[in-house]
Symmetry: C2
Subunit: 333 residues, 2 copies
């Protein structure tokens, strides 16, 4: 079944068939109807792949997911897919676990001539990013920054988040703080921790007693919570780099060790995943403005009509979601 068959049946030129199936191309309503009727009768589908070779637009956006465990990455994936679909773009999805995976995924997407790429929680190798930019491709990093790479980064204001968490801990009268961090090399985590340390040091009333990396997810959080609460001088507050970790810590503190939250131990997370709002967790956390991050990524990656720009940073602000796992005044107990 080719456009030739459709043209014959409709009694029009092949060019008329082609124009009918090209967005924004000029074709009379009468011709369009004839072509569509013939196409339907023959079960014909235009080949957008062939068309993309002529228009040099694939209308494909590559999406590389470096992290899946955290529910807010799924929210992002869904948001990208739906919003790009509304604008007549399709998502080509690739998973990457390692830097080598990201390189291979980017090279693969270049072969499919994607109009843009979004990397979610994955860092682009500089060479692949440079090659892609040279061809005019747009690269957007979500929750990551990379020095010397021609990409737009969409990140939260980590220093502000760190200061805000520090301020809340001091206001609640917490004095011995434990940190449960994920990947210690991530710039956002480092920035947030630096700001938190400064806020705590400036208070003169609290100190960080444990700063542990590699504690990511429910099971790691629960193990960490049990470990630190068994110390001779346990922390009175635990700051976690994700909500999943914080929920693991909460279960260790409340269920395994039968301690009261927030009176005996305060817990704070990061991200505000749906489960954090469930009555059984009711976790105080920092909410990432996911919708704004999705909007910014979509707007950047499909911004047509102007060339891709050099490195840019789009900073979105989180907000503290006050629930019941952090007290707001010193305990009298």
């Amino acid at each position: 079944m080719t456009s030739h068959d459709v043209a014959s049946l409709a009694g029009v030129s092949r060019s008329a068939v082609s124009r009918t199936f090209t967005p924004d191309a000029s074709v009379s309503e009468k011709t369009r109807r004839k072509v569509l009727a013939a196409a339907q009768k023959l079960g014909y589908q235009p080949n957008v792949i062939a068309r993309s070779l002529i228009t040099r637009q694939s209308r494909l956006i590559g999406l590389i997911m470096g992290e899946w465990e955290n529910p807010f990455y799924t929210t992002m994936l869904r948001g990208f897919t739906e919003r790009l679909g509304e604008r007549d773009y399709r998502v080509m999805l690739l998973a990457s676990r390692t830097a080598g995976d990201v390189e291979a995924a980017m090279r693969m997407l270049m072969q499919y001539r994607v109009d843009g790429m979004v990397l979610v929680s994955a860092s682009p190798p500089a060479a692949a990013a440079a090659d892609y930019a040279r061809g005019g491709g747009r690269l957007v990093l979500v929750n990551r920054e990379a020095d010397g790479v021609p990409a737009t980064s969409i990140v939260s204001d980590a220093a502000r988040d760190g200061r805000e968490i520090g301020r809340r801990l001091i206001a609640g009268g917490y004095a011995r703080i434990a940190l449960a961090r994920g990947d210690a090399t991530l710039p956002s985590g480092v920035l947030r921790t630096e700001a938190l340390r400064e806020a705590i040091a400036a208070s003169g009333r609290a100190r960080i007693v444990i700063d542990r990396s590699g504690t990511l997810g429910y099971a790691a959080g629960r193990a960490f919570g049990n470990e630190v609460m068994a110390l001779p001088e346990p922390p009175d507050a635990i700051v976690c780099s994700t909500d999943m970790t914080a929920i693991g810590v909460l279960d260790a503190v409340r269920i395994d060790r039968a301690l009261q939250v927030p009176r005996q131990v305060g817990v704070v997370g990061f991200g505000d995943i749906p489960a954090s709002g469930w009555a059984s967790h009711d976790l105080t956390t920092i909410r990432l403005p996911l919708e704004r991050m999705i909007d910014a990524a979509v707007a950047t990656v499909i911004d047509e009509g102007r060339p891709a720009t050099g490195p840019r940073r789009i900073v979105v602000e989180g907000e503290v979601v006050v629930r019941s796992t952090l007290r707001d005044a010193p305990s009298r107990g």
Copy 2:
């Protein structure tokens, strides 16, 4: 940058360049190395889109997601993406909310000449499915069945699951059962409920006191739990069609109404999402064999070398995950 430039620099024919970048094509190691060196120097990427017009294989698999809320659909999405990537296939991802969306998504994927389609919790319109099958495309439905559609369905054994839940309720001595169901029209839900009803009726010792559709997700589950526990004769067990719903019911029962689970009220879910294993929920549920479902879908959708077959059904068996929300003997309280 074209294959012509690469051929010139490497001192080989254009055909040699093309063969170097075509999987399984014949090319000498010496030529291959020359081509790759020239390609790297020039930053050349082969155009797989152009190649797919010749090979008639896009190496694209379309994935249509009809449901995102339930975490196990994300697990599936990740599994498909990773396993198809390992076999050198790419995923084109589309989201659909309505039957019209599914139709449009399928037509779109046909235009990209995808080698196969997987519909996750979405039902294919018969006309689109027939058109796709006519072109030799493979269609796989996960968690859905559709009469008269040339597709392979991968489903769990709903009748067995229903009987098993009924058996556990009777063994626990529960007598007044409430059902919290999602979409009342889904064949799997209907089958499961029928089997559950039969098992309960056969016992002569229990009955279904409420059967409510449209209660899906945490908030709906929590509202339902609060509503039914306020009745003059409340249920002593609540059966939910998803784990998220069951966790909402648990929070209503335990936190909002301060009742004891499983002594005063038993709760059972379906799916075994990660949160169900958290100490704070510890939900008894039916585990879907996600890995087997993903394997079956991948094997079916990329099965090359033989023509697409007619309708087929692949049934996988779930298993009861016994945790603490359902007692296993009648209460003495």
